[in-house]
């Protein structure tokens, strides 16, 4: 007599477990891929930047050490992106709040679509628009600013063409506006009704309700949205290269001059060879580090109030 031990009903379901394993493998691969790509980019940047980093000042084409070469570019990049962020953030948050909490539904939808459309315009078009349309338009305004605020060094030497760092920053602001707006709006509409009603039931006006429940709830998400916008502003190449009449570093926002790392790389890369090539890659590495630091800072800001995030 042979006894066949029937499998316990609890051990069944190999099939289901295989599916689970496949799925977790897939997500693991997707997550790992990002790290691998990032690693390769980093290795590429470091390896190719290294010769320029160790080269003496007399060996480099600019006849200065790499750090003397790159710091005006770093400042120019941060200046353009920072100004863009300063202009775009309040407008973007205002528009997002308007769409999510203030506008009647009939108006909110079309405004949302128009903002999304702004993101679909290629950056070279923004660059051409900034160079040919916006810059001449801004010349009289720059002259006015110089006349009345010229005692502040920022408003010295207004450019005759208007192709200045401020114009570039305005174009960048328009470009990052839809990113920050669209993401912020998505977060604002997810505010729990419960929290909105809690504020209203205490006798809050609409603005007070937004201040009490919507903005605190959305804060981490809005910081992320701003960082994505900043990432785009830091890395934007074409628009800046077209708009900005580049030159040496200057604090004059209305003057020609300054340059950003991406625009510098784009303008010089095709003809670069030898150490000049390494120098440009090293500038790219510097940009990579800036972005990294900015993102870490944003994470830190978001995590500072983790206990109060509402996630618990």
């Amino acid at each position: 007599m042979t006894t066949v031990t029937a499998p316990s009903p609890l051990t069944a379901g190999e099939k289901g477990r295989a599916g689970d394993k496949f799925f977790s493998g897939l997500t693991f691969a997707a997550g790992g891929l990002i790290l691998v790509v990032l690693l390769f980019v980093t290795v590429f940047l470091v390896v190719n930047a290294y010769p320029a980093l160790i080269a003496g000042a007399d060996e480099l084409p600019s006849q200065t050490s790499f750090f003397e070469y790159v710091w005006p570019l770093v400042l120019g990049t941060l200046l353009a992106a920072g100004l863009a962020l300063l202009m775009a953030t309040p407008v973007a948050i205002g528009v997002a709040l308007f769409i999510s909490h203030v506008a009647p539904r009939k108006l909110a939808k079309p405004v949302g679509y128009v903002i999304d459309l702004l993101a679909a315009i290629p950056s070279v078009v923004y660059g051409a628009w900034g160079m040919l349309f916006l810059a001449p338009l801004l010349v009289p305004i720059y002259d006015w600013l110089h006349r009345y605020l010229g005692w502040i060094p920022l408003f010295n030497d207004p450019s005759a063409t208007g192709r200045t760092i401020l114009t570039a920053a305005i174009v960048l602001a328009v470009m990052i506006l839809p990113i920050i707006t669209a993401l912020s709006r998505e977060i604002f509409v997810q505010t729990p009704k419960l929290h909105e009603e809690a504020a209203l039931a205490l006798g809050a006006t609409r603005w007070e309700m937004i201040k009490m429940s919507v903005l605190p709830f959305a804060r981490p998400g809005v910081v992320s949205a701003i960082m994505l916008g900043l990432g785009r502003a830091l890395g934007e190449t074409m628009a800046v290269a077209l708009v900005l009449s580049s030159g040496a570093l200057t604090w004059g926002l209305l003057a020609e001059g300054n340059n950003t790392i991406p625009a510098e790389i784009a303008a010089n890369f095709p003809e670069a060879s030898g150490l000049r090539y390494n120098e440009l890659i090293a500038a790219g590495l510097a940009l990579f580090l800036i972005t990294l630091v900015v993102n870490l800072a944003a994470r830190w800001i978001v995590n500072r109030h983790k206990e109060f995030s509402g996630a618990n």
């Binding site: 009647p104 419960l194 009603e197 039931a201 205490l202 006798g203 009490m212 429940s213 605190p216 109060f308």
Partner: protein
């Protein structure tokens, strides 16, 4: 101070849909009034018209009058914001502001309209409100911790503290215990009993035992069928509603024959 509420021929609409029809009710100050009835009968909708919270939904409006000590809260030029600062509300699920500490939650309503508070005044209000909500002893050592870290029942009492901090005339409660365990429910019910010494309390509840335990008067709402408006069927002393109601529907409901 506690005020009386009178609703006269009140119809509530969502857009064109008539949700509640022809409610006439007189709610005495310093009493607890319970609204009972099956789901969808309009008791919550009617409750929310008492502080104009139903207007949060676009298209919601009323016909008729709601008088707060004789003043029509739907009168011309009446600001819903002012109405809500007089008629506070506690919700079905505890909803303390997650980004605020316990103390900030209590003061949230007080700080509206740009009021400034000295630290000692603020501390006094926090203690008074939390004592009023029977929560002070449990949280006095962690006032700066987030309100969302409390248990469900404590959160609900925090919400009540937040509501009474602004010293309203009326407190509306929309099934305040439906998300709470029996011990927490008992704590909130005890609190309701104390609140009626100073406030007019109106409570919507699905739990008939709760209505019998906490309320002085009970209003029974019912609905004739899906798509029909909810109506106030009977309004009387709680003991009358539960022991010898006039209407057959009330008797069927409180004796558990439907609902």
């Amino acid at each position: 101070m506690a005020k009386r509420i009178d609703a006269n021929d009140l119809n509530v609409y969502y857009g064109k849909f008539l949700a509640v029809e022809g409610v006439n009710i007189n709610i005495e100050p310093r009493s607890v009034t319970a609204f009972i009835g099956p789901s969808g009968c309009g008791k919550t909708t009617f409750l929310r018209t008492l502080n104009r919270m139903h207007e949060v939904l676009p298209g919601a409006h009323v016909k008729g009058k709601v008088l707060l000590d004789g003043d029509d809260i739907y009168g011309p030029g009446v600001d819903p914001v002012t109405v809500r600062s007089q008629v506070g509300m506690v919700f079905q699920r505890p909803n303390p502001f997650p980004t605020m500490s316990i103390k900030e939650n209590v003061l949230a309503g007080f700080k509206l309209n740009g009021k400034r508070l000295s630290k000692s005044d603020a501390d006094a209000i926090v203690e008074k409100s939390l004592r009023g909500a029977n929560l002070w002893n449990e949280v006095k050592d962690r006032l700066d911790k987030p309100g969302s870290g409390l248990s469900g029942g404590q959160q609900q009492r925090l919400c009540i503290a937040r509501t009474i901090a602004v010293e309203p005339s009326v407190i509306l409660m929309d099934e305040p215990c439906s998300a709470l365990d029996p011990i927490s429910t008992l704590a909130v019910e005890d609190l309701i009993n104390e609140l009626k010494n100073e406030y007019t309390v109106v409570i919507v509840t699905h739990n008939m035992q709760q209505a019998a335990r906490v309320s002085d008067k009970t209003a029974f709402f019912n609905i004739a069928g899906t798509g029909k408006p909810g109506k106030l069927i009977e309004y009387a002393e709680t003991s009358t509603i539960f022991n010898n109601p006039v209407e057959q529907a009330t008797e069927d409901y409180v004796s558990g024959r439907f609902g």
